[in-house]
């Protein structure tokens, strides 16, 4: 208990009487839920033998001596509070929930570490803040709440939000942090965890905290600790929410009439290119809008003349209803605890037929068998059922012709009479069945031995086993089937992920007077296995059996079988030493020595050391600045690693292929690199924790500087080497930035509390070296796989996230023609109304040498801010997140803006250049003549800065008396709106989630009951 008085406790003190008395009364409640806390111990600081405990209304009465009295309030599961009584007679004390049963302890690689001793840059959020966002994804719950964590949500049912810590530290591999759930390192599939089960999330951001994860810590570590039972009477709690989701935005695409006019304009302009003296109006009347039209199909002319416009997207989408229920049971004694929970979540997707359902359960049990022997398990099981729809449904419907009637007649959609065999009729595509069933067991089991005092030995065996079955059936009635002449296609894929982790640690911790020392040594091994098998069968007599009867497939020669087996391993030794003196000076040193199977024989092992120091000035005897009650300086330096590269990249592989009745060996194109080694990041972090005015104002600030000098990437090779790519350590990257978290308790009254918080993060990366004398590495891709892309290129001295393209000069006007007449536009037409790019080198030729780094996809800064208002039982919470100064490429918008009326078009094209409307940046319509498009220049680069009302919640907690009369501890109702407001100039679906699928907004109604 001695060193555990944290200054971050929030107290609500209310003066009831104005004069001192010998009898003290008060009430203890949960800081967040305001629920009364039963069984809290209240003792006098001066004499810990004198005390009492609270009753089931959280109330207490205590005889206290006159004078300056300080109380210590202790309740399991909460942080201890030290309360100066002053001259009050009734105290309202609210306790901050502590996150683990072991109070301030979290499990780090099989060892229990005090949170306070995490000397590095760590952001923690507790269950109360997690539950502010009703969601079934943890990442989503973290959005905007952790400085330095950039979370991008995903509206597709069952898909997880992505999270990135401290910007880009690697190029391609593993930009996501690792997740450690109760000590188990998991890769992916975080959405099978129920946020309601989570007690706390600690985001470890610098090497001082992540070095203990060695080769995997480079992109940060998210430590998730699940709930444990609390000592005291058993509790039952039920949480439920219901939500209605819809798209937050749709693209402003043209309706039938505008699209018709656009196409007429595009054709007429193209005709005039060849017939400059021709009669344009005559041409339009004769060849375009008449029944003999070469530009329109009859159905389009009919729809246009009837004033019709069809919305295909509307036909395949819907409102998505969601519901989530969690029921948990918890309790414990001094000898052990239990926490058992059940969860059901059901999410209907916004595209028809898509659905996500999850049933999960958890048992966290801990028990002392002997005074020196403790065992425990944190085990969760989940069963997920997903219904997929074919990926083309949304995209095809979004790009459908508004002059085409919505029905299932065609196998493909069309513009004019051009049936596009890639545009499968989405109504038919909805007939495709896609089911995914997945079972996951995530179980961490430990035995903990204290053979002698202060010595702790712990061994943990963890399993993370996922078995997944994916089934598809594409019926004969779909365009997909027609195009591929399959006559029905059934696919079955069965996948097994089997991950095993075994951690052993020995910890010795002792306090010698003012010195506290803790030493930890351990080993960790991980075995990750993956295998799958897949069957695709073709040709069925009918569609009746779906994917269930493979034996009925008659096109046996088309049957494909595939399978793979992959094993990767990691072995580690780790050591850690913590020292602190009077809670004033802190030092932590860690080292981890990791071996990985992903590297060649001589490069398997790497060492990852770190050192962190901290100094709490307010603990100094000379400290007399009353206003500042905490001022802790932190500095940490360490090396973290990254091994997230494709498997077997050290070897050139030849894969067996079956073709023309025999097996052939063909290189997979990758040149093996036996010299591959870890990415090593040298990370420096300097931070300060400041707390002012009785902790009413708190500030945490961090500065980091990360040098990654062995950047791993897939490098394309000149094919004269015989290969197309290789994975190699190509260069060095510097990434630095700051993070700021501000918290303020603006009002602290008994019935009225107002808190506000603000977070800001900024990071900036720069490539400082590339291999050899190379100044640039180009990223090839595109339709043919060999075009230099706008993003993903590496330029010395520039950001990883640079955008590389031609620069937009202006829209050509008649007056420009003389100036540009001798410029070689590489075969493109530039006439009035077309885009002129900047001739960077002024040599009269526009080519790749005229490309610029035109922008950067990294925001200048980003973060969130929010406010909590509680008045009596009513709560209001608002949370915004923002991002400033980032650019974005929207291929989607560019596509819409390049339309010639033969594809979906954006309404901004109504502002296109015409001889009458010359003051515009939107080029003219022109069909079938090559010229510069939106995507060829930076004209398409979006200003993606935004401010979003990420969540707002209005809640009401029943008054204690009412709750009690219903025999409930706590009852809370709430309504939450997610993503209800967005301010941005971005033209795509969403500046954050991009253009694959629009973002969603949701209104949720929820209920929490505890008894």
């Amino acid at each position: 208990m001695k060193n555990r008085i944290l200054p971050v406790i929030l107290l609500c003190l209310t003066t009831v009487g104005a004069f001192a008395q010998h009898v003290l009364k008060g009430r203890v409640t949960d800081q967040v839920t305001q629920a009364p806390i039963f069984g809290a111990q209240i003792t006098l600081k001066s004499d810990r033998t004198k005390g009492t405990i609270t009753n089931d209304a959280g109330e207490f009465t205590l005889q206290a001596p006159a004078g300056a009295v300080t109380l210590i309030v202790h309740s399991l599961g909460y942080k201890d509070a030290e309360v100066p009584v002053g001259n009050q007679t009734f105290l309202t004390i609210s306790l901050e929930e502590d996150n683990a049963k072991g109070l301030d302890e979290i499990v780090v690689v099989g060892a229990v570490v005090k949170r306070e001793n995490l000397t590095g840059a760590v952001s923690s959020i507790n269950s109360a803040r997690i539950s502010q966002t009703p969601t079934n994804s943890i990442n989503q719950a973290l959005q905007g709440k952790v400085a330095g964590a950039y979370v991008v949500s995903n509206a597709q049912p069952g898909s997880d939000a992505s999270i990135k810590i401290r910007g880009n530290n690697s190029i391609q591999f593993g930009t996501n942090p690792i997740f450690v759930v109760d000590g188990v390192i998991i890769d992916g599939g975080f959405n099978t965890l129920n946020p309601d089960d989570i007690a706390s999330v600690d985001v470890l951001k610098d090497a001082a905290s992540t070095a203990i994860y060695g080769s995997r810590g480079a992109n940060g570590v998210v430590v998730v600790t699940t709930k444990k039972g609390k000592n005291g009477v058993g509790k039952v709690s039920y949480n439920a929410w219901f939500g209605v989701q819809q798209f937050s935005k749709r693209a402003a695409t043209m309706g039938g009439k505008d699209l018709f006019n656009l196409r007429v304009d595009a054709y007429a302009n193209a005709w005039q290119e060849k017939n400059p003296q021709g009669n344009r109006d005559q041409y339009i009347a004769d060849s375009l809008v008449s029944d003999r039209s070469i530009a329109f199909g009859k159905y389009e002319l009919d729809a246009y003349r009837a004033g019709k416009s069809y919305d295909w997207l509307d036909a395949v989408t819907r409102k998505g209803f969601q519901q989530n229920h969690t029921l948990n049971f918890s309790g414990g004694t001094e000898k052990g605890s239990y926490f058992v929970s059940f969860n059901y979540t059901d999410q209907k997707g916004l595209v028809q037929n898509s659905n996500y359902r999850r049933l999960s359960g958890r048992a966290n049990i801990e028990q002392y068998i002997k005074p020196w022997l403790k065992i425990g398990t944190n085990t969760t099981f989940s069963n997920t059922k997903e219904k997929y729809v074919d990926g083309s449904v949304f995209s095809v419907a979004a790009g459908a012709n508004p002059l085409l009637k919505i029905d299932t007649t065609g196998y493909y959609l069309k513009y004019a009479d051009i049936q596009n065999q890639d545009a499968y009729n989405p109504l038919r595509s909805l007939w495709i069945t896609g089911d995914n069933f997945s079972n996951r067991l995530l179980s961490s089991n430990y035995i903990n031995i204290n053979p002698i005092k202060d010595l702790n030995i712990r061994s943990t065996v963890s399993f993370d086993i996922t078995s997944q079955q994916t089934f598809w059936y594409t019926p004969m009635t779909t365009g997909q089937d027609k195009r591929n002449s399959n006559h029905g296609k059934a696919s079955q894929k069965k996948t097994l992920y089997n991950n095993l982790q075994w951690d052993n640690t020995i910890t010795y911790s002792k306090t010698f007077g003012d010195h506290y020392v803790s030493l930890l040594g351990g080993t960790s091994i991980q075995l990750n296995k993956y295998d799958y098998n897949q069957v695709d069968a073709f040709g069925f007599p009918n569609d009746d059996f779906g994917y269930k009867f493979l034996g009925g497939a008659y096109s046996k020669d088309k049957t494909t079988l595939s399978s793979d087996f992959v094993t990767t391993t990691l072995a580690s030794f780790l050591g850690r030493a913590d020292y602190n003196y009077k809670d004033k000076y802190f030092a932590t040193a860690t080292i981890r020595y990791d071996g990985s199977s992903k590297f060649g024989a001589n490069n398997k092992w790497g060492a990852f050391p770190s050192l962190a120091l901290a100094y709490d000035m307010t603990r100094e005897t000379f400290w007399n600045v009353k206003a500042i009650n905490r001022l802790k300086w932190r500095v940490g330096f360490g090396i973290a690693g990254n091994q997230n590269i494709p498997n077997y990249a050290f070897a050139s592989l030849y894969r067996p292929n079956y073709t023309n009745n025999s097996v052939t060996y063909v290189s997979d194109g990758r040149l093996g690199n036996p010299f591959l080694h870890w990415e090593r990041q040298k990370q420096l972090n300097v931070g300060v924790d400041l707390s002012l005015l009785d902790s009413r104002l708190t500030l945490t600030a961090d500065y980091f500087n990360i040098d990654n000098d062995n950047l791993l990437m897939v490098r394309t090779l000149p094919t004269t080497t015989g290969f197309t790519n290789t994975v190699s350590n190509v260069g060095a990257l510097n990434n630095k930035g700051i993070e700021l978290t501000l918290g303020a308790a603006l009002i602290r009254k008994k019935d009225f509390q107002w808190n506000a918080n603000f977070m800001l993060s900024s990071d900036k990366n720069k490539i400082t070296r590339l291999y050899g004398s190379t100044k640039a590495i180009y990223n090839k891709g595109g339709y043919t796989g060999v075009e230099i892309q706008r993003t993903g290129n590496l330029f010395l001295g520039e950001s990883l996230n640079s955008v590389y393209s031609l620069k937009f000069d202006k829209i050509a006007q008649q007056s420009d023609m003389e100036r540009i007449k001798n410029i070689d536009f590489a075969g493109r037409t530039v006439h009035p109304g077309d885009i002129i790019p900047v001739d960077k080198d002024g040599n009269g030729v526009i080519n790749d040498d005229d490309r610029y780094v035109v922008g950067n996809l990294t925001p200048k800064f980003y973060g969130g801010f929010g406010t909590d208002l509680t008045y009596k039982g009513i709560g209001l919470n608002l949370f915004f997140n923002y991002s400033y100064g980032l650019k974005r490429l929207s291929g989607f918008y560019e596509g819409l803006m390049s339309s010639t009326g033969l594809s979906a078009a954006h309404q901004d094209l109504n502002r296109r250049w015409t001889p009458q409307n010359t003051d515009t940046n939107v080029p003219r319509a022109l069909y079938g003549v090559p010229r510069y498009s939106y995507g060829d220049t930076d004209l398409g680069l979006q200003d993606a800065s935004f401010l979003r009302l990420s969540t707002f919640t209005v809640s009401y907690t029943l008054p204690r008396q009412v709750s009690q009369s219903l025999r409930l501890d706590n009852t809370r109702f709430y309504m939450t709106g997610t993503n209800q407001l967005l301010f941005t100039k971005d033209k795509g679906y969403d500046p954050e989630t991009g253009d694959g699928y629009p973002n969603a907004k949701m209104i949720t109604l929820g209920l929490n009951v505890t008894f």
């Binding site: 039209s293 070469i294 199909g297 513009y415 009479d417 051009i418 049936q419 065999q421 031995i449 053979p451 027609k482 195009r483 591929n484 002449s485 052993n504 020995i506 075995l527 020669d557 088309k558 399978s563 793979d564 087996f565 990767t568 391993t569 199977s597 024989a601 398997k604 498997n647 077997y648 070897a651 050139s652 592989l653 030849y654 067996p656 292929n657 073709t659 052939t664 060996y665 194109g669 093996g672 000149p718 094919t719 004269t720 015989g722 290969f723 197309t724 090839k780 339709y783 043919t784 796989g785 060999v786 075009e787 070689d824 536009f825 590489a826 075969g827 790749d848 040498d849 079938g928 090559p930």
Partner: protein, 510 residues
């Protein structure tokens, strides 16, 4: 209890190295593949597949675009500027041209893998016969691909796995390139068997025919052009007695009569993915594709015959009356199930002009998409050997013998086996007349089979004939002599330090 725990790290360390050695379980490493004949054999069949695949689908026709017998469909020209550059010979035909980069990129891995196989086989100590045969096959594939590359790009890297440190990956002068071609093909001709039951594999006579072509097609600068040596090779093929023209020209394109006596080597395809070739998808007419996705002459108009290639002599084209090759090579009539299809709005307008017919696969009709078209594609055909031999004889001042071969074999078959005297070439024509007539005869006999671009290059009439016959090149009017060679792809120049920008082909330097 404690003792055991302390031992743990030791046990752990000892077992670590094994634990961390995880080899791929469903692939072989390069060392494993080249270590024994049992593995090199499937590697070489893999090379055949990759070489074959360079001739399928869209990519398989890139070198035929921009010719005097074939050009892109109008809709393609409107919608794919990079690809249109291959016909327009405009600014898009530049180092960044993606369509060409793709062709370059797909060939070099074949060359280098063949080079590695050659090195591995040269040092292998197993069964000598089998080894030499495999070595012959690897040498042949190396040479066939490099021959194509050097014809179109000029100086190219010479990939010799045994001399990689010495030769590197820079461009090498033509004499060195052709020296390798001749040596490798000679080895193949010496060691390959006379016939193969597995039709994917090349034979002695295919090697001789290709070697003959190398002597005939080599640019003067290569120093190996030699009509006598070429004629010798062709003569050996002819005298082997293993090959003959099939009586009916149209039978050559009947999938039921594949691998005929006329075939020295053809790429083997089927109607089943991944062994189909999608050629009809590229060659057919969109107007039909809209009517029925399973119409065997539907497709997407990637490449169509030029007006010269589909018109009769009387209309300024190439066809003489009565030539059976015309209707076997080109589709003029699009009537489908009794109905004439209509031109559709939004397309290029040439969808019902004559189309390439040689790739139509009647086996797909009505049952599967033309995407599954999978007829074999000719590489070396006996008719080509005869024409090349005749050409050599003409160059060796034996014109009348050459005329006899053309009249009695090639043209006689073309006109149904009974060529009228009026259509026979006069035995007394001049050497130069023969050359001119031969160029048209090769178009009639070998249209769309992939040799035309090389024929134009060696004839010296590349620019004049393309400008006169290719609609898009004529419109653009920018074709020049330097276009005979393609630009080295920008990505190669940027990433291969041994090919600096200054090593770019003339006309393309930026």
């Amino acid at each position: 209890m404690k003792k055991r725990i302390f031992l743990l790290p030791l046990v752990f360390l000892m077992s670590c190295q094994d634990f961390l050695n995880q080899e791929p379980q469903t692939a072989l490493t390069q060392e494993q593949v080249f270590s024994k004949l049992e593995n090199i054999d499937p590697l070489i069949t893999g090379l055949y597949t990759s070489w074959r695949n360079a001739r399928k689908d869209r990519g398989g026709f890139m070198f035929q675009l921009g010719g005097d017998e074939s050009q892109q469909g109008a809709f393609q020209v409107k919608s794919e500027p990079d690809q249109a550059g291959l016909d327009r010979y405009d600014g898009f035909l530049a180092p960044r041209n993606n369509a060409l980069t793709q062709q370059w990129d797909m060939r070099w891995p074949i060359v280098t893998a063949a080079a590695k196989a050659i090195l591995a086989l040269q040092t292998n100590k197993e069964d000598e016969n089998r080894r030499n045969q495999l070595l012959g096959e690897a040498s042949f594939i190396w040479a066939a691909v490099c021959f194509e590359l050097t014809q179109y790009w000029g100086d190219i890297p010479v990939i010799d796995a045994g001399k990689i440190a010495e030769l590197g990956t820079g461009r090498k002068p033509l004499p060195m390139v052709y020296d390798y071609l001749v040596r490798y093909l000679q080895f193949a001709a010496d060691h390959l068997p006379e016939s193969q039951t597995d039709k994917r594999r090349v034979t002695k006579y295919a090697a001789m025919a290709l070697l003959g072509k190398v002597y005939l097609y080599a640019p003067q600068a290569a120093g190996v052009r030699d009509y006598q040596k070429a004629a010798d090779q062709f003569q050996k093929v002819i005298q082997s007695g293993k090959y003959s023209l099939v009586p009916k020209y149209a039978d050559l394109f009947d999938p039921g009569k594949a691998n005929s006596t006329e075939s020295l080597y053809e790429f083997q395809f089927t109607n089943t993915y991944p062994d189909n070739n999608q050629t009809q998808w590229q060659m057919g007419s969109r107007a039909l594709a809209s009517v029925d996705g399973n119409c065997s002459f539907g497709g997407y108009d990637l490449m169509v015959p030029t007006a010269y290639a589909y018109s009769d002599v009387t209309k300024g084209g190439v066809w003489e009356t009565g030539d059976t090759r015309k209707d076997a090579s080109i589709r003029y009539d699009f009537t489908y199930k009794g109905e004439a299809p209509k031109l559709l709005s939004g397309f290029g307008g040439d969808e019902l002009d004559p189309h390439v017919k040689k790739f139509e696969d009647p086996r797909t009709q009505g049952t599967m998409s033309f995407w599954y078209s999978g007829k074999n594609i000719f590489y070396l055909r006996y008719a080509d050997v005869l024409l090349c031999y005749a050409e050599c004889l003409n160059e060796l001042n034996r014109t009348s013998e050459a005329v006899t071969i053309v009249n009695d074999q090639i043209r006689n078959r073309a006109f149904g086996g009974a060529i009228p005297a009026s259509l026979k070439w006069a035995s007394g024509i001049s050497q130069d007349d023969f050359r001119t007539k031969m160029l048209d005869e090769r178009m009639r006999e070998l249209a769309f089979e992939g040799w035309r671009r090389m024929d134009l290059i060696r004839s010296g009439k590349f620019v004049s004939l393309i400008k006169a016959r290719n609609n898009w090149a004529a419109q653009s009017n920018t074709i020049q002599e330097f276009h005979m060679r393609y630009p080295i792809p920008l990505t190669e120049i940027l990433q291969n330090e041994e090919i600096p920008p200054s090593a770019q082909n003339p006309g393309y330097q930026q």
